[in-house]
């Protein structure tokens, strides 16, 4: 592959571009270092997030780049927020619109189905991932499709779509750069918006050298992006079907909307004769008046850019083309019935909660061992499998930052606390936590025992940090300095100072 670049790919002034999805300042990694891999998945056994997080943090160059890139996205988001006077009003509206739609979801789904069908879209319903995969395979088989190009979709990750299609001899080509990197490296996306953000440029160079024949010694982001473009284009042109997800579904017009920066959804949808969109049932909104609220919030919250480069609206097949929408439940209707956890369905997958979360930034999305990582993952993943993901709600500092940045105002940190209670109630709690919580419960229940325990606790903070502080309950505490512990308790200080002062005044 030639290293020659089209001149548009290099800035004429030799400076890095800083608009759109770019980082606001250059963040080039300095050294090459083996990429830490994600959580070890052992069947249905509870995922050990802290074990994988430890390995990510031990890879210091990866951790530093990941942390810097995501924190920069958070700061870019703040800058955009300050540029829009009605920002908080938009968040309130977005939350209210989602709550309204979810409260009448059956009505809006049927309305969408009616309008989309009238425009020539074939609407399918799938109760779970397996049924989704079967429906899509049936459509592809009956039309002799051997190659499918697709844009990024978290829903198809939920469904294990790529693995299923590989077993059924359909070649699936991801067209989002980050997602393609992950596909070629046989790894899941680590972030809902920037799927390969946990990788350094040298990691990408090594994946591309092995899979698409790029120069292994060239880790320039422009060169790597161009190599991928050139390698993917013939596949786009020869595919017989295209697949997209859907960010928003407008019930009153029968439209679904897809947001990308690369125009890969437009290419996937418009180049082959057949377009299939896989969409979760929670993506509905009522009408066109509501849509701009979400378009204005999504990319600003996700990447700190005013809008994605492409916002694509599909309302019916093009002339001579064919369009299908598969509406997928996969646990969503059950979640809607969960008194405490239904607000998670408001999520628009912007990833702002991940970018702001100190645990996520330092442990990498693959450490969660689940489709959804970061704060939103902590409250969604246990609804899929309460046993396997029972440790995840503990991977939080409970600082509430996720809730503060959420564009649809999901009470994420409160739900994390509620999950901890729920898990304990269901007996889904690890033996270590059980012992520690029982002991803590007994101590906290009695003022006398509590006071007596404090000097011991102080001593423990000084002398037994690895036992008390750096255990599974406290993953985020690693590599953070615990504040110096006071030499005396407040009670001791009060008795010595105030009491003696008081005694002095009396005498």
């Amino acid at each position: 592959m030639t290293a020659e670049l089209h001149e548009e790919l290099t800035d004429p002034h030799g400076e890095q571009l800083d608009h759109g999805a770019a980082s606001s300042r250059p963040l080039k990694s300095r050294i090459s270092e083996p990429q830490p891999r994600g959580a070890k998945i052992r069947g249905n056994r509870p995922v050990d997030q802290s074990e994988a997080a430890n390995r990510f943090m031990a890879a210091t160059e990866h951790e530093a780049m990941h942390d810097a890139r995501l924190w920069d996205l958070r700061q870019k988001r703040d800058k955009e927020m300050h540029g829009i006077e009605e920002w908080e009003e938009l968040r309130n509206l977005a939350s209210g619109i989602k709550e309204h739609t979810l409260s009448k979801l059956d009505y809006y789904l049927e309305l969408f189905e009616k309008n989309a069908t009238a425009n020539g879209i074939k609407v399918h319903w799938a109760k779970d991932g397996a049924e989704h995969n079967a429906i899509v395979l049936e459509i592809l088989r009956s039309r002799g499709v051997e190659r499918l190009i697709k844009s990024k979709s978290m829903l198809t990750e939920e469904c294990g779509f790529r693995e299923f299609m590989a077993h059924n001899n359909v070649e699936v080509i991801e067209t989002d750069l980050g997602e393609r990197i992950q596909q070629l490296d046989d790894e899941a996306p680590s972030h809902v918006v920037v799927p390969a953000v946990h990788k350094l440029r040298t990691d990408v160079a090594s994946v591309f050298a092995k899979t698409i024949g790029s120069d292994p010694d060239n880790a320039d982001a422009h060169y790597l992006t161009e190599c991928q473009r050139e390698a993917t284009r013939p596949l786009i042109l020869s595919a017989q079907a295209g697949m997209t997800g859907g960010n928003f579904v407008v019930a009153e017009t029968g439209t679904f909307v897809v947001c990308t920066n690369e125009s890969n959804a437009d290419l996937s949808a418009n180049t082959p004769p057949l377009h299939i969109a896989s969409i979760g049932i929670e993506k509905l909104i009522p009408g066109l008046n509501e849509l701009p609220v979400f378009i204005r919030l999504l990319s600003r919250s996700a990447l700190g850019s005013p809008i994605t480069q492409y916002t694509s609206h599909f309302r019916g097949p093009r002339e001579g083309g064919e369009m299908h929408v598969v509406l997928v439940d996969n646990g969503r209707s059950e979640r809607l019935g969960m008194e405490k956890f239904w607000p998670g369905l408001k999520c628009i997958r912007c990833g702002a909660c991940m970018n702001t979360c100190p645990v996520f930034r330092r442990s990498g999305g693959l450490s969660y061992g689940a489709t959804y990582a970061g704060p939103i993952g902590l409250i969604i993943d246990p609804t899929f499998n309460v046993h396997k993901y029972r440790n995840l709600p503990y991977s939080s500092t409970m600082n509430g930052s996720c809730t503060n940045v959420c564009p649809v105002k999901i009470n994420i940190h409160e739900q994390i606390a509620d999950w901890r209670k729920t898990l304990a109630g269901e007996g889904e709690i690890s033996p270590v936590k059980k012992v520690m919580m029982k002991a803590a419960g007994e101590v906290l229940a009695s003022p006398v025992v509590y006071r007596a325990s404090l000097p011991l606790g102080r001593s423990a903070l000084r002398h037994l940090p690895h036992f008390m502080l750096y255990n599974k309950l406290n993953t985020w505490g690693r590599k953070r300095d615990i504040p110096e512990t006071p030499k005396q308790t407040f009670n001791e200080w009060y008795r010595r100072n105030r009491k003696s002062q008081g005694e002095g005044e009396n005498s």
Binding site: L9, V194, D266, A269
Partner: protein, 195 residues
């Protein structure tokens, strides 16, 4: 599958969210709209990586000709400019792949985000918006709306089967946050104000 349709709708109907959840009224948020939307559009377009071409009153298509600097087929979807490749009713989406430049007219523009709206009416073949290497776009300044709320009041949404906002060229920052234009779609996007 029809059994699943009923099962999903039935499961939803068996849930009842607590509290009232009325449909909120969404304002247009356009009280602060400036009189000159052209300037705001240009600023927003440049933020998204697009370029403005300078208008030429004496020879309106001169800026388009000057912007075409690379060899390769030029396809035009506008009557004002003659391309060297014709789109016919038989043109397939993949036929656009070798095109170097496409000259298009936007249905309208959005000043808030520097976005250009195209539907199948402007694109003729939908892939003319994405498969060419470069886009040159004519935009009538009278067809610029202030913000996205105004944009979604337009009639196109109920007329077109396909409509897209393009805001600058195709871009990615998936590798260490380095922004690269031309990730999969067009490598550059230039706009000329042309009534």
């Amino acid at each position: 599958m029809s059994g699943s349709r009923e099962a999903i709708l039935g499961a939803i109907r068996s849930t009842h969210l607590q509290g009232e959840h009325p449909r909120p009224a969404v304002p247009l948020f356009d009280q602060a709209a400036p009189a000159d939307l052209k300037a705001l559009f240009q600023k927003s377009l440049e933020r998204m990586g697009g370029k403005m071409l300078l208008t030429d009153v004496a020879d309106p298509m001169a800026p388009v000709r000057q912007a075409i600097v690379k060899p390769g087929p030029v396809v035009s979807c506008v009557p004002e400019f003659e391309g060297d490749m014709k789109i016919t009713p038989h043109t397939k989406p993949t036929d656009i792949a070798p095109v170097e430049y496409a000259v298009l007219r936007a249905a309208f523009g959005v000043a808030e985000t520097g976005s250009l709206c195209f539907t199948e009416k402007q694109l003729h073949v939908n892939t003319t918006g994405f498969l060419p290497q470069h886009l040159i776009v004519l935009l009538d300044p009278a067809q610029i709306v202030y913000n996205l709320h105004n944009a979604y009041q337009r009639p196109e949404w109920l007329q077109a089967h396909y409509a897209v906002f393009q805001s600058g060229p195709s871009a990615t920052a998936d590798i260490e946050g380095v922004l690269v234009h031309g990730a999969q779609g067009v490598r550059s996007l230039s706009v000329l104000f042309q009534p």
